[in-house]
Assembly symmetry: C2
Homo-oligomer: 241 residues x 2
């Protein structure tokens, strides 16, 4: 536990400290490269040149290019999640539609400001790439945020009677597992509507950022706002309360 007798009390150890700093510097340089030229152009050698060290030295800190990419993926998920959470937290808790809108527009704002990071996490995965377990937690931040919102929707309209959606055993199990992730209680119907809204949100972002809207909705501001509001209506969110 405690090293209570360091002769020369060198805190955490000069080597460990240097290591942490170098890991941070490497990811910082890599993040810059990612933002400027995209994940495909991320080069370990370019990072090493940027830091003035031999390319082989990078491997003391990241076992492979994929490992570095994984670190960037985690950072990106966290960055997006933080942006959405921050925007949503600013809205009055009772304004459910406002909270939904805030999440959507924050996600879009982040994606447009960081297109390469967005493509890294929501675009085509690298062929041989298997997402390590470290990535699934940050990846769930936005879904968890939406699940909490759904729970508040369910709570707010609890007096109204909703007839249950008939779902198959498999789908029911999957929905139950989804509830378990965020520890919320939402009926099947609303949960399915939420999955649809979540999917639509990132479908819109994919189309806009990956060029599928090109030549038609080059300016997707209003289309996005309309679709988000329509999805909000489907979730039972009403303008003011």
């Amino acid at each position: 536990m405690s090293e209570s007798e360091p002769k020369r009390s060198a805190a955490v150890g000069v080597r460990a400290r240097a290591r942490a700093e170098l890991v941070a510097e490497i990811t910082r340089s890599a993040r810059t490269q990612l933002a400027e030229h995209g994940a495909a152009a991320l080069s370990l050698r370019a990072v090493s040149r940027d830091l003035g060290m031999a390319s082989s030295a990078i491997y003391r800190y990241f076992s492979s290019r994929d490992a570095l990419l994984t670190a960037l993926i985690i950072e990106s998920y966290d960055s997006l999640g933080a942006a959405c959470e921050a925007a949503e937290a600013l809205v009055d808790r009772g304004d459910l539609l406002g909270r939904w809108r805030a999440v959507c527009h924050a996600a879009r704002g982040w994606a447009r400001a960081n297109p390469h990071e967005y493509a890294l996490i929501y675009g085509s995965p690298v062929p041989g790439y298997a997402a390590p377990d470290d990535t699934i937690d940050p990846a769930t931040r936005v879904p968890v945020l939406l699940l909490a919102l759904l729970a508040d929707v369910a709570a707010q309209r609890e007096e109204r009677q909703v007839e249950p959606e008939p779902v198959s055993p498999l789908l029911a199990t999957q929905l139950q597992a989804m509830r378990h992730v965020a520890e919320v209680d939402v009926d099947d119907r609303l949960l399915l509507e939420g999955v649809g809204a979540w999917t639509l949100l990132f479908g819109l972002l994919n189309f806009e950022l990956f060029g599928q809207f090109a030549n038609t909705f080059d300016d997707a501001d209003e289309l996005f706002g309309h679709q988000v509001d329509a999805a909000g209506t489907r979730l039972g969110l009403i303008p003011t309360d």
Copy 2:
């Protein structure tokens, strides 16, 4: 295959014929590589080795790796479009929900059968890559198919009065441009609903194929069917007619 017609042969030219064949062989080999290892692993040198020719010779037929990729993109769009069109054509014209379902499930079937091709056209684009004009036409096959479906929806329910959706001038212009692509007449409200359905469809496919549903909807069959039917309901499609 008789070469006893010197005039015809001369007209086509042995060299032009060889060229066309080689272009076809190169794309065939490249398509195999793409299907097996993904776009990132597509190597001009590997293609040249596969065909038993020097790597530099490839450049007589494709000016760059990107040019080859563009050919594969066009092929993929056409393949997906053809699959959807074929499936949709099998359904009775009056069964609008059936046609919508057919398109969606055909798209999903194609995407799952050709995941790398799907990632190539609906995943993150190559950073410096600008889609040539040749690609936009094949890319519109599925949207055009859906627009035709929407037009039939509008025609079938023409008696029912729909109050117009208030849209801004910009959005109205964009929707008008969209109508122009497929030469159909669909009111703003239905058109917006159609864009949402189209976006949701590929949002679902992206999530499923790119791993966002992992650990939750590993088997997305029923979720997909449910979301597709829900979108169909929103479009005003009813089970049977």
